[in-house]
């Protein structure tokens, strides 16, 4: 299934678009999505430690504006936002 990962903050530098598309097996978990994002970084931004650190530290947010934990099962194709460490205000 296709997951659209919406990019925010420093993760916007992952792509020229505001999102990236990741293919996941059905009923994958957020931790699987994180692994696929690591692969994306390794393929598209070779050796970029900052991007890898960002993916490691990021939270994820469902299309219902809820923070979802690593064991959350992604049951359908959907948009998921990556939430890098925050620092607004």
């Amino acid at each position: 299934m296709k997951i659209t990962v919406e990019l925010y903050g420093a993760s916007r530098d992952f792509s020229a678009k505001s999102f990236i598309e990741i293919n996941l097996a059905n009923n994958s978990k957020i931790k699987d999505l994180r692994k696929e994002l690591m692969k994306f970084i390794d393929n598209h931004h070779v050796g970029n430690k900052n991007f890898r650190e960002l993916v490691k530290a990021a939270a994820f947010c469902s299309d219902k504006n809820e923070i979802i934990h690593d064991d959350y099962v992604i049951s359908k194709e959907q948009k998921i936002a990556i939430i890098p460490p925050i620092g607004g205000g």
């Binding site: 925010y8 903050g9 420093a10 530098d13 504006n65 923070i67 890098p84 620092g87 607004g88 205000g89």
Partner: protein, 148 residues
């Protein structure tokens, strides 16, 4: 009572008179306005502006939650809150966030205003990209979001 919003600065600027109108109440004897502005230096670099990015849905939800928590925590008779945060490029000296609070007494507005800005810093998904002299830019490192 709360008003909260995230403003795209290309379309609308943060406006203190809007906040004044919203929090005005004959029940409240104290009003406090906190404004965050872009300052000219950070980490020994000369800052010319900041681009703010936000997850709008989560930001509004977070503002509402912080307000509800303030009501529970302080149990003051009246708490009126106005929060607006900028999104997009904000130049040096311009306002990035406005928090206006009205309560019955002055001690209360200080406590509520401080609580709100500290909680925004901790948990509201807003990111800052600083622009420096010489056109260099940098996303600021923040703190990981903790699930409430």
């Amino acid at each position: 009572m709360i008003h909260c919003n995230i403003l795209d600065v290309k379309k609308e600027k943060i406006n203190i008179s809007k906040a004044q109108k919203f929090i005005a109440s004959s029940k409240c004897g104290a009003s406090l306005f906190f404004m965050g502005t872009v300052r000219n230096e950070n980490n020994n670099k000369k800052v010319t502006g900041i681009t703010y990015d936000s997850h709008d849905g989560m930001v509004k939800k977070s503002f509402q939650e912080i307000y509800e928590e303030a009501k529970k925590k302080f149990k003051f008779e009246t708490i009126v809150v106005f929060i607006e945060h900028a999104k997009g490029y904000v130049a040096l000296g311009e306002t990035s966030v406005l928090i206006a609070v009205a309560c019955k007494h002055r001690k209360e507005v200080y406590e509520v205003s401080r609580f709100i800005i500290e909680e925004i810093k901790k948990r509201t998904p807003i990111w800052k990209k600083e622009h420096y002299e010489g056109k260099e830019t940098e996303w600021l490192k923040g703190s990981p979001v903790v699930k409430q």
